[in-house]
C-alpha cells in the first residue's frame, strides 16, 4: 500500500510542479525586497507596467516579493543570477549599503551593482507629540538632561541609522525603544507616550497630519521639531542647515533600481533607457504627487554616482553604525 501512496504522490507532484514552472523565459522579474503592501511593493507594482510600456515588444515585467534579511535576501538573489538583465530590484539606500559598510556578510556590493535609474528619494524630519508637550523646539531637546527615548524599528534600519548619526552629531545619547514594525507604528508609539520623539520621512509626516477633522486624528498630535535640509524649512521649524550641520542634509533614503552586475552593455543600456523613461513618465510623477512620494528620477550614470556618494558618506560613520547594529 505504501508503494502505491508513494507512486501517487510522485505523479501528483510532477503534475503540479509542471504547472508552476515559469511560463515565459523572456519575462523580467522585478524583485521586491520586502513584503506585500509596503512602499517598495506599491512603487514596484506601479513601475512594472510603465517599464513594459517603454521596453516595447512582448516582454512582461513581473513583480515578485522576496522579503527576508532586511532586504538582503533579494539583493543576494539578484547578484547571483545570470547577468542578462532579466532581474531588477529597487534598492533601499542606504539600508542596502549597511552590510557592505560595517562588514556584515552579503553576496552583493552596492558599489558594483549595475545601476539603471533612481525612482524616488525622501528626507527626514524629527517629530514629537504635541500632547506630551515635553519639547517645543529643537533647543529643548539638545538641552534636555535625561535620556531621550526614541521609538524605532530594529537596529540597522534606515531610520535607526539616520537617527543614530543625527543624535551623534548633536552629542545626544538616545535610548532607542526598538521592535516597531514600521514608521507608522513607531509614530503611534510617540503619540501614545512610548517615547519622546522620532524620525519620519517628510512625505509620511505630511500624509499623517493632513486632516480636516482634528478631534478624530491621532496623528495630528505629531509636531515637527527639526527638519533635515540645507534649504528653508517646509514646516516652519529649525533645520540642520540653519544650525550649522550642513553635512547632515544627506540623511534620507533613495529608491534606486539596479540589475545583476556584469550585464552586457547593450542589454543594460536598453533596460536602463526604459527604466529611466518609466521613472520620468508623467503618469508616475502624477501618481507620486497624489500619494505623497517624492519622485526624483536620475539616469543610470547619475544613479551610479549617487550610490558611490552615499557609500562614501555613510562610511564616515562606520563606528556609529557598527555600534548601533551591535546593540
Amino acid at each position: 500500500m505504501l508503494s502505491r501512496v508513494i507512486t501517487g504522490t510522485a505523479a501528483a507532484a510532477l503534475a503540479v510542479g509542471a504547472s508552476i514552472l515559469p511560463a515565459q523565459a523572456k519575462n523580467i522579474t522585478f524583485l521586491i525586497a520586502y513584503g506585500p503592501g509596503g512602499g517598495f511593493d506599491t512603487v514596484t507594482r506601479k513601475l512594472a507596467p510603465l517599464i513594459e510600456k517603454h521596453l516595447g515588444g512582448n516582454v512582461n515585467v513581473v513583480p515578485k516579493n522576496m522579503p527576508g534579511g532586511r532586504g538582503k535576501k533579494a539583493a543576494n538573489y539578484l547578484v547571483n543570477r545570470k547577468p542578462n538583465g532579466r532581474n531588477l530590484l529597487i534598492f533601499n539606500m542606504p539600508g542596502h549599503a549597511m552590510p557592505n559598510i560595517i562588514g556584515e556578510k552579503a553576496d552583493y556590493d552596492v558599489r558594483t551593482i549595475d545601476w539603471l535609474a533612481r525612482a524616488a528619494e525622501f528626507k527626514y524630519l524629527i517629530v514629537t507629540s504635541a500632547r506630551a508637550g515635553k519639547f517645543k523646539t529643537w533647543n529643548d531637546v539638545t538641552s534636555y538632561k535625561d535620556k531621550i527615548k526614541i521609538p524605532m524599528t530594529a537596529p540597522g534600519t534606515t531610520g535607526y541609522l539616520a537617527t543614530a548619526i543625527l543624535m551623534d552629531a548633536y552629542g545626544i545619547k538616545p535610548k532607542f525603544i526598538t521592535g516597531y514594525k514600521s514608521s507608522s507604528k513607531y509614530a503611534l508609539g510617540v503619540i501614545r507616550g512610548d517615547g519622546d520623539l522620532t524620525i519620519l520621512a517628510k512625505g509620511s509626516f505630511r500624509k499623517y497630519i493632513t486632516s480636516k477633522k482634528k478631534n478624530r486624528q491621532a496623528f495630528k498630535d505629531l509636531t515637527p521639531l527639526l527638519e533635515i535640509t540645507n534649504g528653508p524649512s517646509q514646516f516652519g521649524v529649525e533645520t540642520t542647515g540653519s544650525l550649522g550641520k550642513k553635512e547632515l542634509a544627506v540623511l534620507g533614503g533613495d529608491r534606486m533600481i539596479g540589475t545583476t552586475p556584469g550585464t552586457p552593455k547593450a542589454v543594460k543600456d536598453k533596460i536602463a533607457n526604459a527604466v529611466f523613461k518609466a521613472v520620468s513618465d508623467p503618469e508616475f510623477a502624477a501618481w507620486g504627487k497624489k500619494v505623497g512620494r517624492d519622485v526624483a528620477p536620475l539616469n543610470a550614470a547619475q544613479t551610479k554616482a549617487k550610490a558611490l556618494e552615499l557609500f562614501a558618506y555613510y562610511s564616515k560613520f562606520k563606528s556609529v553604525l557598527a555600534a548601533s547594529v551591535k546593540k
Binding site: G37, P155, T178, K185, K207, Y208, T210, K327
Partner: protein, 504 residues
C-alpha cells in the same frame, strides 16, 4: 452617515459590481481553501487587475476576497486538518476530529455559519466604532499587549487537559522555535545556526502545514482506511445540524466575534491570535464539556471561526483610521488604496465616507455569499473524508507542499513543512498535544517583544504592569481564567457529592 451607506449600497448593486464581488468571493474561497495561499496572496495577485478600475470597483473586488478567505480556509481545516490560512489553525483542533467521526458536514455548516455571523458582527462593530477609533487604538501600549499575550499563553495550561507535562514540553519547544530568526528588538539573528533560511524565523504557515496536514497523512498512511474512522456510519446530511448548533451556542459565537473585532482592531496582532484566544477562552468558559475539547466539540469550531471572520471588520479599523494595517491582508489592501490614490486615515473617513461604506457593504454581502456557497457545497466537500487513503494522501500531501512552496516560492519552506510533518507525526504517535505547541509558537514572540519594549520604555520597572488600569484588568482576567475552571469543577464535584449523600 446614512447617505454614505445608501451610496455604498448603490455602488454595489450594478451588474458589474455584483460580478466583481462574486469573482472576489470565489477567488477568496479558493485561495482560502488551498493551504498556504490565503487572502494576502490573493489580494496581492489581483492588484494588477484593478489598475483600470474605478476605486470603488477595486474596493468591491478586494472586499469580496478578504471576506471569503477565512470561510474557505475553514473547509480545509476541518476536512484535511490543514489550516487554509494561519487564522484557521485553531479550527483544526475540533473540526478535524469531527470529520474523523463522520460529522464533517456538521462542522462545515457550523464553521461557515459562525464565519458569516462573526463577519457581520465585525462589520457592524466597524461601523459603530468609526467615531471612537482613535481612543481604541491608543489604549493599547506594550504593557497591555504583553498582558494580552500572557492571557493567551495561559490557554496552554487549559488546553493540555490531563496531559499537562506533555503540554508544557511541546509549549517550550514552540517557544524555542518562535525565538529563531531576526529579533526586532536587537536587530540580530538568533539561533539560526548559520542557515540563511532560518534568518527570518520559522514561518508559521509551512510549519503548521507540516505539523497538522502532512503529519496526519503520514499517520493515515501507517493506519490505512480513510479520514472518517467508520465510513459505514456516515450520513453526509448534517450541514443543517451545524447551522443549528451555532444558534444554539450563540454566546460562543458572540464572544468569538467580540474577540475577533477587538483583537483585529489592534495593529499587528491579527486573526491567528484572535482565533486562538477565542478558542482558549471557550475552553476555559466550559470546564466540564459534554465532549472534551480537541476531540470533536462543535463549540471548538464555532469559537475560532466567528473570531477569525469578525477580525476582518476589526482590522479595517486601524487601516482606515490611521493607515496602520491590522493584518498582512489589510497591509496589501492598504497598498491597493494607495495605488488608487486613496489616502487612508481620517481624511478618507471624512472626505470619502461613501467609499468606506462601499467596502462595508461589499464585505457584508461577500461574507454571506461565501457562506452560502460553502453551505451549498458542504455535502460534497464532506465526502472527501470518505475517500481512500490511496487517493487522499498523494492529493493532500501535494496540495499541502505546493501551498508551503507557493507562499514565498521558497523551496526551504517545503523542507520546513516536511521537518514539522515528522515532528507532528511523532507527537500524534506519542500523544503529545500539538495545540500547546502552536499557541506557544504564535504568542511567544509577541510576549517577548512586548515585554522587552515595556522594559525599554519604563527603564526596567516591572511595577508598570500593576499601575495601568487595562494591564491590571487583563492580569485579573488571566488569573480568573486560570482559577475559574478549577473552582467551577470543585463546586460541581461538591454539589454532586452532596446530591449523592442526600440521595443515600
Amino acid at each position: 452617515m446614512f447617505d454614505s451607506l445608501i451610496i455604498g449600497i448603490d455602488n454595489l448593486f450594478s451588474l458589474n459590481s455584483i460580478l466583481l464581488l462574486m469573482a472576489g468571493s470565489a477567488v477568496g474561497l479558493l485561495f482560502g481553501a488551498i493551504p498556504g495561499l490565503g487572502g494576502t496572496t490573493a489580494v496581492a495577485l489581483m492588484i494588477p487587475l484593478t489598475f483600470g478600475m474605478e476605486p470603488f470597483q477595486a474596493i468591491i473586488l478586494m472586499g469580496g476576497i478578504m471576506a471569503a478567505t477565512s470561510t474557505g480556509g475553514s473547509v480545509s481545516a476541518i476536512l484535511l486538518n490543514t489550516p487554509g490560512i494561519a487564522p484557521n489553525a485553531a479550527t483544526t483542533f475540533d473540526g478535524y476530529p469531527l470529520a474523523k467521526q463522520g460529522k464533517a458536514g456538521m462542522a462545515i455548516g457550523a464553521g461557515a455559519t459562525a464565519s458569516a455571523l462573526g463577519g457581520v458582527v465585525g462589520i457592524i462593530s466597524l461601523v459603530a466604532v468609526i467615531p471612537i477609533m482613535k481612543e481604541i487604538v491608543l489604549l493599547f501600549t506594550p504593557p497591555e499587549f504583553f498582558m494580552l499575550a500572557i492571557f493567551g499563553l495561559c490557554a496552554i495550561a487549559v488546553s493540555s487537559g490531563d496531559r499537562l507535562l506533555q503540554g508544557l514540553i511541546t509549549a517550550i519547544i514552540g517557544l524555542v522555535v518562535g525565538f529563531v530568526g531576526l529579533y526586532d528588538i536587537t536587530g540580530t539573528v538568533r539561533y539560526s545556526m548559520g542557515i540563511p533560511l532560518l534568518e527570518d524565523g520559522i514561518k508559521l504557515v509551512p510549519a503548521l502545514i507540516g505539523l497538522f496536514a502532512i503529519s496526519e497523512m503520514i499517520n493515515l498512511a501507517v493506519k490505512g482506511g480513510s479520514i472518517a474512522e467508520d465510513t459505514s456510519s456516515i450520513a453526509i446530511s448534517r450541514v443543517s445540524d451545524g447551522i443549528k448548533q451555532v444558534f444554539k451556542n450563540w454566546s460562543t459565537m458572540l464572544v468569538g466575534s467580540g474577540y475577533g473585532t477587538f483583537i483585529g482592531a489592534i495593529p499587528g496582532v491579527g486573526g491567528t491570535v484572535a482565533a486562538f484566544l477565542s478558542y482558549s477562552t471557550q475552553v476555559q468558559r466550559d470546564p466540564d464539556p459534554d465532549i472534551e475539547y480537541g476531540k470533536g466539540n462543535i463549540k471548538g469550531v464555532i469559537a475560532p471561526e466567528s473570531a477569525n471572520n469578525a477580525k476582518d471588520g476589526g482590522s479595517l479599523i486601524p487601516t482606515l483610521a490611521f493607515g496602520i494595517p491590522g493584518s498582512a491582508e489589510t497591509a496589501v489592501f492598504l497598498g491597493v488604496l494607495i495605488l488608487h490614490g486613496i489616502e487612508p486615515g481620517q481624511k478618507l473617513l471624512v472626505e470619502n465616507e461613501p467609499l468606506v461604506f462601499t467596502l462595508v457593504v461589499a464585505l457584508t454581502v461577500s461574507v454571506v455569499f461565501a457562506t452560502l456557497v460553502v453551505l451549498a457545497l458542504a455535502k460534497y466537500m464532506a465526502m472527501l473524508t470518505m475517500v481512500s487513503v490511496n487517493v487522499l494522501i498523494p492529493t493532500v500531501s501535494v496540495i499541502a507542499l505546493v501551498g508551503a512552496y507557493a507562499l514565498h516560492t521558497e523551496i526551504g519552506d517545503v523542507v520546513i513543512a516536511l521537518i514539522f510533518a515528522i515532528i507532528g507525526y511523532f507527537m500524534i504517535r506519542f500523544n503529545y498535544p500539538r495545540v500547546t505547541f502552536t499557541i506557544a509558537l504564535v504568542l511567544g514572540t509577541l510576549t517577548e517583544l512586548n515585554f522587552d519594549q515595556t522594559m525599554q520604555i519604563h527603564d526596567g520597572d516591572m511595577t508598570v504592569f500593576l499601575t495601568r488600569w487595562l494591564s491590571v484588568t487583563l492580569l485579573i482576567l488571566t488569573v480568573l481564567s486560570l482559577g475559574f475552571p478549577t473552582f467551577r469543577k470543585k463546586v460541581r464535584e461538591r454539589n454532586r457529592r452532596r446530591e449523592a449523600e442526600a440521595s443515600k
